[in-house]
């Protein structure tokens, strides 16, 4: 097998090194060539980050003597990457320290004030990595780290308590009695206290929280069982009897804390990021002033200023168009993919993307007061509501608690006369035993394994409740643009059939700089054709392009005629005479029809939602196999949200760019693309690297998880019924409990692992 000449990792295709960092390090170690020697250290892509206004958004240092940046690094391969990136101070002057976290893929760099963010990024790029500067709030990170540490501390203490309790319980089960037995029992009591008053505190908090909203959940059951066990055991200890349950209670709490910790580890950590900042933080905006112009970040743009918006830039504030006509892509706001033409004096809302040449805009609001910011704020508050659904385990816990308590009460009332104090003891034993561990840790275990499996297959799943919800629904609603179709157009036909190579090159030359969806479609269809070097192309906004070239006048215009069958027609004319017709339709995703059919097989209702005109929407729906009366056309972002509200419970499939509100509203939402952080925040499942087949995959996974959870629950109910009956009949003593509880835990764990491995 061939290995890398530097790090000895296996390599393929006869390459000498496994990655660029190995090559650079090898040169450095053997020949003393600095990794950044002969590299280009500036790049136009990163230049804007040198701007102090933009840079300050990423600098988390509070001290003026140094700057501190954090990056997400893509392209980490082997241990050499750690060495190369951490030795940054040795070959890039001005860097004080550089620390990589390989598992989180983040790099933290401290620099002297003269180092600029853009140059730093360019240097990282020339080393062969893809950096993304992170602008997280330091407070949030710290709080999260602290929370995780506290959780681990509680688990550690619970583990130690459980281990020690077992150690001292075994001699007692083996028959140890007398004063030594009593000492052992007291030791168990004292070692149990840290668990009772430290490790188990989260259960009390959650139980109290659910009591306040008058709902019974699993934590309340655990709290009651734990306290019943504690009081009962302490009472027995004082009274000199043998009914001591410290060991089984401790191991039980330890197991639950552990499985819950794993569950949280698999949930995503990027949930509470600010969507709005995420959209604009990477752009520098040009403000026109008396002296000419200056650049600033989106937060420092104020009303009454003039903003020079660049082609393809996203507008952060509400505004009026001050220059002559311009084309905007409003898909972020409306979902409508066709470019919108705005004339001088027209309102242009925040979230519009400029498609034509640079435009001057008169700002009317700050970024934080724009309509877009308000709309995104409602998303933020809704996110919190969404997490509080009552899960199956909560329902089961609720019913079980009621049954167990009524049973205990009835038993006590009817047997008190005959059994006396023994009746009370048996009731407490019942409550201790009947706490179903399947509910308490079988379910989180199944969910955490499900999340792990989903992550392995490329899904980002926001919360585990998705699995439960997905298994319930029978209706799927697709967004059209960007989901069933790609947002580009495809050239389907042209007339006459053969276009000369010369005409092709002229058409491409005309469309060279255009970002119009039709232009992008053309460039893709004719990717191998030459492009004529046409200068001074005049773009008539929303209508087409024209130019003089080699003494002729060429025009490519949107036709006034309809292309038929929902197609869009464009006319190419030479010197005012039409010579070619081009027909475009939307590009359907290859797998769309297939996936819709699969949904029909699963007995799902399939519907479609779009901002497009009805005729075009129905045309697309027919091709995919969606019934025309299940097509909601001509919808705005707001009305999409309302439709989803009416159609709930449903699965909504959209893209994170323009369906944020609808995604947020849906019972279960699935996003197939979009900016990572904001999409993840509003959608339940996000699968950026996958096609629509991913939907079926995740539904199957959910069904599997749900059936595992249900079998666990059934088993637990059965097992605990028997245990409860034995307790009431007086057959349960601490030894039996110490055997019964671990056996059921073991059975449930192995069943879950076997089903979901």
């Amino acid at each position: 097998m061939e290995v890398c000449a530097y790090c000895r990792a296996p390599v393929s295709n006869g390459a000498k090194f496994c990655c660029q960092s190995c090559e650079l390090l090898s040169a450095w170690v053997t020949d003393g060539v600095s990794p950044l020697a002969s590299k280009k250290l500036t790049s136009s892509q990163w230049d804007k980050f040198n701007l102090i206004e933009l840079e300050s958004q990423f600098n988390s240092s509070t001290c003026p003597l140094f700057k501190k940046f954090r990056f997400y690094i893509e392209g980490l391969q082997c241990s050499s990457c750690v060495h190369l990136l951490e030795d940054f101070p040795l070959y890039f002057s001005g860097i004080v320290s550089s620390k990589l976290n390989y598992s989180q893929r983040t790099l933290e760099v401290q620099t002297k004030p003269e180092v600029k963010l853009g140059d730093l990024c360019a240097a990282i790029v020339s080393l062969g990595y893809e950096p993304t500067p992170l602008n997280e709030t330091a407070d949030y990170d710290k709080a999260q780290q602290l929370e995780q540490r506290n959780e681990l501390k509680r688990i550690g203490v619970a583990g130690a308590v459980a281990g020690n309790a077992m150690l001292f319980a075994v001699p007692i089960y083996a028959g140890l009695d007398g004063s030594l037995g009593l000492i052992f029992k007291w030791i168990m009591f004292f070692t149990f206290l840290p668990l009772m008053f430290y490790s188990a505190v989260p259960f009390y908090k959650k139980a109290w929280g659910s009591l306040l909203i008058r709902r019974i959940n699993v934590d309340m059951m655990i709290t009651v069982a734990l306290w019943a066990g504690f009081i009962f055991s302490t009472y027995s200890l004082v009274m000199g009897s043998d009914d001591i349950y410290f060991d089984s209670s401790a191991s039980f709490i330890f197991l639950i804390l552990l499985t819950r910790y794993f569950l949280r580890q698999h949930q995503d950590k990027l949930l509470r990021k600010n969507i709005f900042d995420d959209l604009f933080v990477n752009s520098a905006y040009e403000i026109l002033d008396q002296k000419g112009s200056h650049y600033t970040n989106f937060k420092d743009i104020n009303p009454n200023q003039l903003l020079m918006l660049k082609r393809n830039q996203l507008l952060p504030c509400d505004s009026y168009l001050d220059s002559s006509s311009a084309t905007f892509d409003l898909s972020f706001l409306t979902g409508e993919v066709y470019p919108q033409i705005k004339h001088v004096g027209d309102a242009v809302p925040a979230g519009s993307r400029l498609l034509s040449v640079d435009a001057r805009l008169y700002i009317t609001s700050t970024a934080t007061h724009s309509n877009l910011a308000q709309a995104l704020n409602t998303i933020d508050t809704n996110v919190k509501d969404k997490n509080t659904i009552q899960t199956l385990s909560d329902v089961v816990a609720h019913r079980l608690t009621l049954v167990v308590f009524s049973l205990a009460a009835l038993f006590f009332i009817f047997t008190y006369q005959t059994l006396g104090f023994e009746a009370f003891k048996r009731c407490l034993a019942l409550i201790t035993i009947a706490c179903p561990c399947a509910v308490a840790f079988g379910t989180p275990l199944a969910f955490s394994m499900g999340l792990k499996k989903a992550a392995k297959h490329g899904f980002f799943v926001r919360t585990e409740s998705v699995f439960e919800k997905l298994a319930q629904i029978k209706k799927v609603i697709f967004d059209k643009t960007g989901t069933l179709t790609s947002s580009q157009f495809k050239l389907v036909n042209n007339f006459p059939e053969n276009i000369s190579a010369e005409n092709k090159s002229i058409i491409l030359g005309l469309e060279k700089a255009s970002l119009h969806p039709l232009a992008l479609g053309l460039k893709e269809s004719w990717s191998d054709a030459d492009i004529a070097d046409i200068k001074d192309v005049k773009e008539e906004v929303g209508n087409g392009v024209e130019a003089y070239y080699n003494g002729h006048h060429y025009q490519l215009k949107k036709s006034i005629e309809d292309g038929g069958n929902g197609a869009i027609q464009a006319d190419f004319s030479i010197d005012g005479k039409r010579s070619n017709y081009l027909f475009f339709t939307e590009n359907l995703r290859q797998e769309a029809t297939d996936v819709v059919n699969e949904f029909y097989k699963l007995n799902f209702d399939v519907k479609m939602l779009t901002g497009d005109k009805r005729v075009r929407a129905v045309e697309t729906a027919k091709k995919i196999g969606i019934r025309p009366n299940f097509v909601f056309a001509e919808q705005s972002a707001q009305s999409k949200k309302q439709i989803i509200e009416q159609e709930n419970p449903c699965l909504f499939v959209g893209d994170g760019l323009n369906d944020l509100q609808a995604l947020n509203q849906a019972y279960v939402s699935f996003a197939i693309r979009g900016s990572f952080e904001s999409t993840l925040q509003v959608s339940d499942v996000y699968a950026p690297q996958k096609d629509l087949h991913a939907l079926l995959e995740i539904i199957n996974l959910s069904k599997n998880i749900q059936s595992t959870v249900k079998i666990n629950l059934l088993f637990a109910i059965f097992y605990n019924t028997i245990g409860g009956l034995l307790a009431l009949a007086g057959y349960i003593n601490p030894l039996v409990a110490a055997v019964l509880m671990p056996v059921s835990s073991f059975l449930i764990t192995s069943h879950t692992v076997w089903r979901l491995k």
Binding site: W28, H83, G156
Partner: protein, 58 residues
């Protein structure tokens, strides 16, 4: 009897020591990153190459 009690006391002190040292290690951030330190240790001495080059030049 007294031997057993002595052993029990030792066991308890040991377990408390372990718990306390675990809590200390956790608070001082030793479990923050479990992957990078293992890779960091494999590092070559970069300065060797640079020195060798300087030496050759002399």
């Amino acid at each position: 009897m007294s031997t057993i009690l002595f052993m029990v006391a030792v066991a308890l002190i040991l377990s408390i020591t372990f718990v306390v040292s675990y809590l200390w290690a956790l608070s001082s951030g030793q479990f923050n990153d479990l992957d990078t330190p293992a890779l960091r240790i494999l590092k070559d001495d970069i300065l060797k190459g640079t020195e060798r080059k300087n030496h050759e030049q002399q």
